[in-house]
């Protein structure tokens, strides 16, 4: 039942990586599914090239912020932020982390989003690749931690968003797919 869904996600990256865009896509997916949603984001001085963190809460919540060890899932667009924001994750939560082959990420599921982005000639698409990967990662998570939305739901959000901009839509769907179908190392 939709009413019982309560999920908290943390999305972490650096300024310019598109953290807020990913957060919005997930929030819009929640709205399409008639679920109440909260997000919280960074603006102004705090945004200039620094660390960007956003919180997303779907379901019956009143506070826009997530406490430590409460997040069901973590999307990390830059590996160094795992050390900064890993503490939000609850012990059995999942983490989709952008890391290359040389970098060992102790927690979570690593995906080389930087390399995949170069491969599809869309270096700015790291955010969508990690999102695609998160959708796959969450599918494999234990039943209590599955994501409130699916790969198909996010595709539908992208279609609504870029309806008239065919080129943008194609590029976005391609990036999402690259992440969704990536292989874990």
């Amino acid at each position: 039942m939709a009413e019982s869904i309560k999920q908290q996600l943390v999305i972490s990256g650096l300024g310019g990586q598109g953290v807020l865009f990913v957060t919005r896509l997930l929030a819009e997916a929640a709205i399409e599914k008639q679920l109440p949603v909260f997000t919280s984001e960074t603006h102004g001085m705090a945004q200039r090239g620094g660390v960007v963190l956003s919180h997303l809460k779907v379901g019956d919540f009143t506070s826009p912020l997530i406490r430590p060890f409460q997040a069901d899932g973590l999307l990390v667009l830059k590996l160094e932020n795992m050390a900064r924001h890993g503490f939000f994750l609850k012990p059995d939560g999942w983490a989709a982390v952008n890391a290359n082959a040389d970098q060992q990420s102790k927690i979570g599921a690593p995906v080389d989003a930087d390399r995949l982005a170069q491969k599809i000639s869309n270096p700015k698409a790291v955010n969508l690749i990690v999102l695609g990967w998160a959708l796959k990662t969450a599918e494999r998570a234990s039943s209590g931690n599955r994501l409130f939305c699916s790969y198909e739901d996010i595709k539908s959000v992208l279609k609504n968003r870029f309806g008239s901009q065919k080129k943008m839509l194609r590029a976005s769907l391609k990036a999402l797919e690259a992440g969704y179908n990536a292989k874990e190392k």
Binding site: T39, R48, G49, G50, S63, P64, L65, P68
Partner: protein, 606 residues
């Protein structure tokens, strides 16, 4: 079915304004309030609403324009950040006495943390000082609702009403159902009444008496009274909370299974606190905890030092944001539950920095070359980050770069060795509060250089137009004020224009200005190049010079330390130290070609 849409807190506030018939909305941009006016202008355009929206030159002017609107019977609003209210405090104090005709909402967004501000001041204290009621929303949804309540109180009691959201309300997004926007068919009618609208001190005393009467009545108004959120809970302990702290408190009390054990009241109107509620509270409970941001405004009105815990009793921290984990700790302490302390890991941070290709970086580099041992006064904006480059020594408040430069000049003027003083100020900030300070400097013949960093936009807050832009809040064409003529009109004799991207020429220009200022008085250099983010948003392209690092780079680190462009990456390998350029971040400004002392930045062949 109503349409549900994801709205930023500031957009929800804007929605509340247009849904409640606001006919005039003014603002000066400032984080976390900036998106309010932009969203009003958006809804105005989208729904073809007949109303006036504008970015004013500063908050005082924004306030006065919107206030005049309410004097004619229209519903109006002014929005700003908390330090902006300092600038608008002069009209605020007086408007409280005179009252309103149509409803008037003053939106002042606080920034506990602080995330993007000079202070953590609590605008609710300003409301207390002015003696006007203030509402404290806990979410975007409630902020939208409270606009309606604010107009209701404002028109019922003929007083300005403050809405005080905080960063976490302004910059949260929530799904909100959009309601219809009513036709605005109010009559515009300014009824002359000099005894009120132009009151002399004798009448002011009378107005002050009336104001006290209004406050006493508002403290009995039911619609804004505290709300008991968990009627089932019983006990001798009670928690009061307001703003986003109340949102955290609700969730945390449920998680800690205290929901049915400790009564919780949400205070929607922290000032004036409802009198009957206070009496009942002090009578019924032994232990009262108040959780609020950022000063103990509710707490101090409870006037009981034995049973009340909060900021004044130091139970709640007086500084910093009340994060949910802090709220949890406070509640656990109050309820006698164990709390597991947790310190987030201290990971060496990435400090905020000017963007790759930012023209300010080039200006600062030139200023440091031209006046190497100078005193550098600066101001509020992206260019505050010039402190990373050692080119910013002081930042006080809007416009102070110029008046502080004057102050430093006067302090040193009788010394044998006088340092050169170079002030930097952005274009929008110059208009906001810099002009009177410049006139003062001309009159006093103060010897310093002022560099106006003219990037044609209010960059830090998200590219709002400046008075020099010639466009309005909704993109409509307006008049533009020319900065150079304005500077000359202030009486400045040395005023020259330069392009900071042309590093050599620009450095020579600043040197010339320094030499002039030592002899004659204030010299102004206008450093003109558009903000690169603003250009990107408008789909414009600047010059592109492909740069690479030659093999001559020995990794001395000069460019990293003195230029700090985020596109420059320093490699400290075992066998070799060197710099490379990040092709994703580099925008090809070519300024670094002039930065390396060894000339290791070179134009890429082909």
């Amino acid at each position: 079915m109503t349409e549900r849409r994801l709205l930023l807190g500031n957009e929800a506030i804007a929605r509340g304004l247009v849904e409640n018939g606001c006919a005039m909305a003014t603002s000066y941009p400032g984080t976390p309030a900036s998106e309010i006016l932009a969203a009003v202008a958006f809804f105005q355009k989208q729904n073809r609403i007949s109303m006036h929206t504008q970015w004013a030159v500063n908050e005082k002017i924004a306030f006065e324009i919107a206030y005049a609107g309410c004097q004619t019977g229209l519903r109006t609003a002014v929005s700003m950040k908390q330090v902006g209210l300092n600038v608008a405090s002069d009209p605020l104090m007086s408007a409280a006495y005179m009252g309103v005709n149509g409803g008037f909402v003053v939106i002042s967004a606080d920034d506990p943390g602080p995330h993007s501000s000079q202070t953590e001041q609590d605008s609710r204290m300003m409301a207390m000082m002015a003696k006007i009621p203030v509402l404290d929303p806990d979410s975007p949804e409630q902020a939208r609702e409270m606009i309606g309540l604010a107009y209701e109180i404002s028109e019922k009691y003929k007083t300005p009403v403050m809405l005080r959201p905080t960063t976490r309300v302004c910059h949260s997004r929530q799904d909100i159902d959009l309601r219809a926007i009513p036709e605005n068919n109010r009559e515009v009618n300014f009824e002359k009444n000099p005894a009120r609208w132009a009151a002399t001190p004798k009448f002011r005393l009378q107005l002050h008496k009336e104001l006290e009467g209004k406050l006493a009545a508002i403290a009995r108004y039911r619609a804004s009274a505290p709300v008991r959120l968990n009627p089932g809970a019983k006990g001798k302990k009670v928690i009061l909370s307001s703003g986003v702290a109340a949102a955290h408190t609700r969730e945390i009390m449920k998680a800690l299974k205290l929901w049915s054990k400790i009564p919780l009241y949400q205070i929607r109107q922290p000032f004036p606190l409802h009198r009957e509620f206070v009496t009942r509270l002090l009578k019924n409970y032994d232990d009262i905890l108040v959780i609020e941001e950022t000063t103990g405004v509710i707490e101090m009105q409870l006037a009981d030092r034995y049973h009340v815990k909060g900021k004044l009793s130091q139970t709640v921290s007086r500084v910093g944001e009340l994060s949910p984990e802090k709220v949890e700790e406070i509640i656990c302490g109050f309820a006698g539950l164990e709390f597991r302390q947790f310190e987030p890991p201290a990971v060496p941070g990435r400090r905020p920095t000017l963007c790759a290709g930012c023209p300010h970086r080039a200006s600062f580099f030139a200023i440091k070359k031209a006046a190497p041992r100078g005193i550098y006064t600066s101001d509020i904006g992206c260019y505050t980050l010039g402190l990373n480059l050692g080119a910013v020594d002081t930042v006080l408040c809007m416009g102070a770069a110029i008046s502080q430069a004057s102050g430093f000049y006067h302090a040193y003027k009788n010394e044998k060795k006088r340092p050169d003083v170079v002030a930097t100020i952005g274009d929008s900030t110059f208009f906001h509060a810099g002009v009177p300070a410049l006139i003062d400097a001309v009159v006093q013949k103060n010897k310093f250089v002022l560099v106006i960093l003219d990037n044609r936009t209010t960059a830090m807050t998200g590219s709002q137009p400046t008075p020099a832009s010639g466009i309005g809040a909704g993109g409509e064409p307006l008049n533009a004020v020319d900065i150079e003529s304005l500077v000359k009109g202030c009486g400045v004799k040395f005023c020259k224009l330069g392009n900071p991207y042309k590093v050599k020429e620009f450095t020579a220009l600043v040197k010339e200005a320094v030499a002039y200022s030592r002899k004659h008085g204030p010299a102004v250099v206008i450093s003109r190049y558009p903000c690169v983010i603003d250009m990107l948003r408008k789909g414009e392209t600047g010059q592109y010079i492909p740069v690479e690092v030659a093999d001559t780079c020995d990794g001395c680190g000069y460019c990293i330390q003195h230029f700090e462009c985020p596109a420059l990456i320093y490699h400290d390998d075992e066998d070799r130290k060197y710099v490379t350029i990040d092709p994703l971040l580099c925008i090809g400004c070519g300024v670094c070609l002039e930065v390396c002392p060894k000339g290791s930045f070179v134009i890429k062949k082909n």
